[in-house]
Symmetry: C2
Subunit: 489 residues, 2 copies
């Protein structure tokens, strides 16, 4: 059942019937939880519903038989100040379940859209649903089991419950302004909720509307719905996923790069410090105007990313920027969605984060080395574009640099590093192995540049055979784009 | 130098001298950082000083040669609302560096004490210093290198800088109310700062006052002080630590436990539900009055902790409690101080967290199995008492249950588990190995109960041969103590 209209609110359940049905269920849920854990399936259970639909009691019954080490309950309120400094979906992403775990959301990403929707902000309404559809598709494609439950009660029942609670000092706080507001506008909310259910019902993330006028019936139906979804997930794996829609690029954007570009040391020295000082000033203005900046550095091994970054940040205040060196995922980074760690590492509004390697690892090293399946990296181009669109819609400046050198230049640098006592640690066998796969990386890079260069988050190729040119170019672009964004803000 | 009085503010440094001195320093700091990393030494650098002492510039110069993957800068402001819901030191604990990493605090745990101190809250002042001394001793004992720097400028220099910044729109925001207030009351602050330096200077955490009127001189002295401290830490390991002061207990508190205590099923059934419902009510009142509750369950294997906890939480709202199953530390839990993960897992004010095993692992399994050195577990009794004192000083209720069974009862339960298809997964070879060390665990438990039972956080022995008695007793204690605390609040 996925509409309010179709829900039969008269349904009840007798005490004995309830007890008989529930008894084997507790054992069953424990067994299923262990099976989901062993299968490494992450599960997100969303509990939505009317104010007064007794989500708390349903929740308490649901978790009774579960091993507490395997689930976590997230009560979602309005965004706190700290949370408002990030793109809206971040607070959900960082709470997503890792493999084998269950995250239970009491209210969820639907909270905001329902409240905004009701308040009549039509544009956010549409955008909000789209963000939710993107999130749920990405999660389902990533193997997350989504169970979405809506507890439905009538206006009369809501009224009865509010009155009862108001009389008890331990529970009176539950009935506040937003509860009263919903009750007054029950019919409008009803319309908004039906709309929400219709807009966000999908085969990979179906809604289940559960009549909740009668306590025992509601508790039983929720437990039963969860158990059924657990079983289906265990049987149907792997379930059907969205079509990746990948098309390789025809002409590599790298072909046009002019690696002969270079600057004289004197000109470099003259331009460098003023650019760095300008960026320092802009950093302060970003802080003042709460403009978040995300910078990505990708490039060949030994392309000079590290030195380039060091020049970029030289005059900046370390309290406002952070360089994030991205390596192979470890621990919880492996058992979560590949974008999870990047959502966590986003800058607060007003700060600047520089990613030394990034989420593009999915379509570079993971593609070339086979760490991601073909389906996974095919899908990643769209997922990454959607991710970055959420950053720029939030107002972030997104800069992406591919630091480019020729194969010959790389060889010369590898050899020089091996001879320099202080740089030997920077060159490893892995660098040599990567070099052997130059052509594969070339193809992957070409696809990446072509398929993820968008209007709001374009790639810039930084010609790096001459390091001085590369440093100035990166600085110039940063100063220009951040400056422009500040003027528009 | 560890007083303001002794600092010579006239010191300067010529451009050439600066350049000559700094040049080899960058290489040296890079080498030292790698050596600290390889030695697994965690470092906390505290940057304190007057408003206008240009901490940002000093910081920018200090981090220039460092590998950004190895350090993190934490700008410490006044506690945010979310942070105010936890004991005051938590926001620092969760930011402490793990082994081989550097955490740089721009303002630190001194911020609050200075500001409170100046505002004349004498009691917090003294308590605040004591909390700091405890923190720094615990960290130093745990192997953390502490570098504490204070940048000193005169009132006249502060005035000059504020005037200059106020003219530039990118920097004017730096001079706000608290800056102006400090300037107006420079002499009072001077007295408070000298006092702070005297109160918190220690061999394992020495203060370094650095004259900061002249930019180059200050930058050089800070870089030099950090490099010198790095070198000393690498040479002197292991450095001298505080005396553990451990005395084994003479009479085991377990001797007095009456394991024959039991209740009839009928009496159990009659009492259980009302107790659970009362606890549910109390939970709501805790939320209303923002009372945090910390519960610890320790006990023999198969003592029935899990089942006891399940009965305790049965009627409670899962949005307000959390059961934390504590296992062997993994990942960052290993490379951080052993108390670090428990500081992270503390409940927000108004919530209840139940630890199924806890920080007492330090003096139980880690002691018996030799995972902690003798010096470490000897020291742990005091460290744990200090930790819990910070919880109760913040107003938390701390309940600690030792669920006790006889050796014969344990054997009977192990055997029963092996025969039950649904419980076989609960019994492992490790349980049998632990059982062989019964006497060692008995000694460790006896010490624990005797040495960490304090007035504010006492241990309760829950006689567990009869599970029904154990469940009722735990519930009764929880209801009584939480109820009392609510009345006092």
């Amino acid at each position: 059942m996925n509409t309010l209209k179709a829900a039969d609110l008269a349904l009840t359940m007798g005490k004995d019937e309830y007890r008989t049905a529930m008894k084997p269920m507790d054992l069953k849920l424990g067994v299923l939880q262990r099976a989901l854990h062993d299968a490494g399936i992450p599960t997100a259970i969303l509990l939505e519903g009317w104010e007064g639909s007794r989500k708390g009691e349903v929740l308490a019954r649901l978790v009774q038989p579960l091993d507490p080490r395997g689930f976590e309950v997230h009560a979602i309120g309005p965004p706190q100040f700290e949370e408002s400094l990030y793109p809206p979906m971040r607070r959900f992403w960082i709470r997503l379940p890792e493999q084998g775990k269950i995250a239970i959301f009491d209210r969820s990403w639907y909270r905001q859209v329902l409240e905004e929707g009701f308040q009549g902000f039509e544009s956010d309404f549409t955008e909000g649903y789209e963000r939710i559809r993107v999130l749920e598709r990405q999660l389902a494609d990533g193997g997350v089991l989504l169970i979405k439950i809506f507890l439905h009660i009538s206006r009369e029942e809501q009224s009865r419950r509010f009155k009862k609670w108001s009389k008890d000092p331990a529970f009176a706080w539950r009935v506040g302004d937003s509860e009263r507001r919903q009750h007054e506008h029950y019919d409008d909310f009803h319309t908004a909720m039906e709309h929400m259910l219709a807009e966000t019902d999908a085969p990979h993330a179906p809604w289940q509307v559960i009549p909740a006028e009668h306590g025992r019936y509601a508790r039983w139906k929720v437990v039963d719905a969860v158990a059924t979804a657990f079983e289906a997930a265990l049987e149907q794996r792997p379930h059907s996923k969205s079509s990746p829609g990948y098309k390789p690029c025809k002409q590599s954007p790298l072909d046009k790069a002019d690696l002969s570009l270079a600057v004289e040391r004197k000109a470099y020295n003259d331009e460098l410090t003023p650019l760095q000082e300008t960026l320092h000033r802009l950093q302060h203005l970003c802080y003042l105007k709460r403009l978040p900046v995300v910078m990505v550095y990708e490039g060949w091994d030994a392309a000079g990313k590290g030195g380039n970054i060091r020049r970029l940040v030289r005059e900046m205040d370390p309290r406002g920027y952070k360089v994030i060196g991205v390596g192979a995922p470890v621990g919880q980074e492996i058992t979560n969605h590949y974008l999870w760690r990047f959502w966590r590492w986003l800058p607060r509004a007003g700060h600047l984060h520089i990613f030394d390697r990034s989420w593009y690892g999915r379509v570079l090293v993971e593609r070339v080395e086979g760490f991601a399946t073909e389906e996974e990296w095919h899908r990643a181009y769209r997922e990454i574009n959607e991710f970055e669109a959420q950053l720029t819609q939030f107002g972030a400046v997104v800069l992406k640099f591919w630091v480019h050198i020729s194969k010959e230049e790389q060889l010369a640098r590898f050899e020089a590093r091996q001879e320099d006592l202080h740089k030997q640690w920077k060159i490893t066998d892995e660098d040599w192995r990567n070099r052997e796969k130059w052509d594969d990386y070339w193809a992957a890079t070409s696809d990446m540049l072509a398929l993820t260069s968008t209007e709001h988050a374009p790639w810039d190729i930084i010609e790096g055979n001459d390091k001085l040119h590369a440093r100035l170019k990166a600085l110039r672009i940063a100063v220009e784009r951040i400056g422009d964004a500040l003027e528009r803000r």
